[in-house]
Amino acid sequence: MAQTVHLFIPCFVNAFFPTVGIACVEILENLGYRVVYSTDQTCCGQPAYNSGYVKEARSLATRAIQLFGVADYIVAPSGSCTAMLKHYYGTLPLTRKERQDWDLCRNRFYEITQFITRVAGVNHWKGTFPHSVTFHDACHALRELGIRDEPRQLLTRIQRLKLIEMPHADRCCGFGGTFSVKFPELSTAILEAKIASLKQTGAEFVVSTDSSCLMHIAGYLKKHGESITALHLVEVLWQAWKNDGSPPILNGTHAP
């Protein structure tokens, strides 16, 4: 029987970037997983947590944990939310019962790139994407979860995709959640350094694993009439399949 993946969709992806979620469903199902999702899901509580509001964060964390059920894996298209679920929930003042519930979940949390490469064992993405692409390392994916090579591995195997590394791809884009509106000018000034380095590459697309960084980067690009388009990694992966006709059957080493 197929293994089950519970999809966790970041709240703003749900509202603003639903195609990222849809791409996740398509990819996971084509990899042979049964995908489930709770329409009761809202927000993991990270905005409150990162702003210092522990009580509110705790309330949303305990609520989120209740939604996950018994799926084999819980996968999110975001390093940031995954780090929140997997690491930071553990720092909240949970009751014993709540901590037990979280303990039952914590080893099942995966960011989707990690899930595709490490769990499904797919490192060789079959597909075509005839464009130049530059990759931005999202801070939480990179530093909280150690995701650096996996996305690049996936991208470089796609036919006709040209990956052009930007200088300092691993530097922060300046988003920082509520920081971006608390210190808007500062957030924008940091972003401008990131924009300058991604423009240096001349790539058509900027790709990342977190829609939050992309919302920030794309918001600036659009406002300033730049022609570079921001895409989530899963959107590129899915599009590469579609460009090849139908999704191929993938031979992941651990694919069920």
């Binding site: 089950t4 603003f16 639903p18 979620g21 999702y37 210092g52 509110e56 530097r171 300046g174 406002k223």
Partner: protein, 474 residues
């Protein structure tokens, strides 16, 4: 605006608030350009030096562990350090706060009939406002580190832990020298350096007292270690009759056997050198009579709020800091606004963590929020201080301790209520989508839309798409 009048956290913090300072400094493109160039240069130097060490990660781990041993039992180690120093004939004074530290140094100066004091770079003396105190009491204090000398001439404060004047271009320094020293304008760094050397050499030769900081205090020998490149600290500690060492009480390492580790971590992280030009490991006055070296040596060990950090199980980790400034250099905030925009002596990620406790001043409460929590600081820190976790922790403490911005408290309370009920939550999303569509032009989002387009709610949302296509729930 090049000039920041802040000299001391307790006296001159930005009354108008940190955010105003940030806006001000963001507009200073020359200052920002200088900061960026200097931090990039320092990062590159560091990278080359660290790449030479294959087990750098293990060294960081080890540095963390040894500092933890010290900080977890700081009072005992401190007592032992002081005892060992006294056995070397050193007079040790423990200063609970800035005022008593300053008064003690002033007293030493009076007792020995000191008129001119030469001083090498020391952050703790900036923190306690020592120069201002001594000068108000009629003593001449000359900073002798070139960068410090430049900021002293300019009436400014250091912009960085390691490079106090790295915000200034050679032209600015040239003008400053011409104006303050009455020399012909030059912007040649070698020439400017030579000018400063000659002026300062005279000061060294006629100084009665030398003040230095300490990079490390060695518990089991009572010695202190000073790391530098110019030789000015060496001169400060050997030329004048009286030597004063001022150090934060957390500066300790267990023994001299720990020096290979800590010198490697510090020098490579700070300047990308294998070792700085001078590393001095010094004790008390010369045991056999000699005209070289001080007749009398004093240590002033400063608390000034460090005990408040020590009391907290998380924040005490900030006391592991060896002041290498790597976290400044890598921080996107510091790189963008530089040290002066912080308005405090300690800047960058570590400054944002410790300043609220050290100053006990509510005006420092903005600092921990001025971070993207990107974690680059924690990754680069040679003693593995979890800086971005401490910033988060400080945010929580500040929210709990203060009444906070009222609108924000209400905002998060409301956010929590909505997010607990998916029906309300989804209604809110629909409402936002509708408003975005009927609003003529772009719906303004405070703090966002001045520089970035705010995305529109897409129909169907992912949840709506799922309900239509899948209808599977766990």
């Amino acid at each position: 605006m090049d000039h920041n009048p802040l000299t001391n956290p307790t006296r001159n913090a930005p009354a108008s608030g940190f955010k105003q300072w940030v806006r001000l400094y963001l507009q200073n493109s020359r200052y920002r350009e200088n900061i960026r160039r200097a931090t990039e240069h320092a990062l590159e130097q560091r990278r080359l030096a660290v790449d030479e060490i294959p087990d750098w990660e293990r060294l960081r781990q080890e540095g963390h562990r040894r500092k933890q041993q010290i900080i977890d039992h700081l009072p005992e180690h401190l007592n032992q350090f002081i005892e060992n120093a006294r056995a070397r004939g050193i007079v040790v004074y423990q200063a609970p706060d800035a005022r008593t530290a300053n008064q003690f140094v002033e007293q030493i100066a009076r007792q020995h009939g000191v008129r001119r004091i030469v001083k090498s770079k020391s952050m703790v003396t900036e923190e306690i406002g020592l120069n201002a105190h001594l000068q108000q009491n009629g003593l001449e204090v000359v900073e002798t580190d070139l960068g410090e000398y430049i900021v002293q001439l300019a009436g400014e404060t250091p912009v960085h832990l390691v490079g106090p004047a790295l915000h200034k271009s050679r032209q600015e320094i040239g003008q400053l020298f011409a104006e303050k020293l009455g020399v012909t304008y030059t912007e040649d760094p070698s020439e400017l350096t030579r000018l400063a050397r000659n002026i300062l050499r005279e000061k060294f030769l006629t100084a009665d007292m030398g003040i230095t900081g300490a990079n490390f205090g060695i518990v089991d020998s009572g010695r202190v270690v000073v790391v530098e490149n110019e030789g000015n600290a060496r001169l400060c500690m050997t030329l004048p009759r009286i030597r004063v060492v001022i150090m934060g009480m957390e500066r300790l390492i267990p023994s001299e056997a720990d020096l290979p580790l800590f010198l490697t971590l510090l020098c490579r992280s700070a300047t990308g050198q294998r070792l700085t030009s001078y590393v001095s490991i010094t004790g008390g006055p010369a045991s056999s009579p000699s005209p070289e070296g001080p007749e009398k040596v004093y240590y002033v060990v400063v608390d000034n709020g460090r005990s408040r950090l020590l009391q907290d199980p998380h924040l005490k980790k900030a006391l592991y800091c060896i002041r290498c400034a790597a976290c400044y250099n890598i921080c996107p905030i510091y790189q963008t606004i530089g040290g002066h925009a912080y308005g405090w002596v300690y800047q960058g990620p570590i400054g944002a963590v410790i300043t609220p406790e050290l100053s006990g001043d509510q005006r420092a409460d903005d600092l921990p929020f001025a971070s993207t929590l990107c974690g680059a600081c924690s990754d680069i820190c040679p003693v593995k201080i979890p800086l971005h976790h401490l910033l988060l922790y400080q945010r929580q403490r500040i929210v709990q301790r203060t009444s906070g911005p009222h609108s924000e408290k209400l905002g998060f309370a409301l956010f929590e209520k909505l997010a607990r009920h998916s029906m309300l939550w989804n209604r809110m999303i629909r409402l936002l989508g509708k408003v975005q569509r009927v609003f003529p032009g772009e719906l303004p989002v405070p703090g966002w839309t001045h520089s970035r387009i705010f995305p529109r709610v897409e129909w169907p949302t992912f949840t709506q798409w799922w309900q239509k296509h899948k209808r599977k729930t766990p």
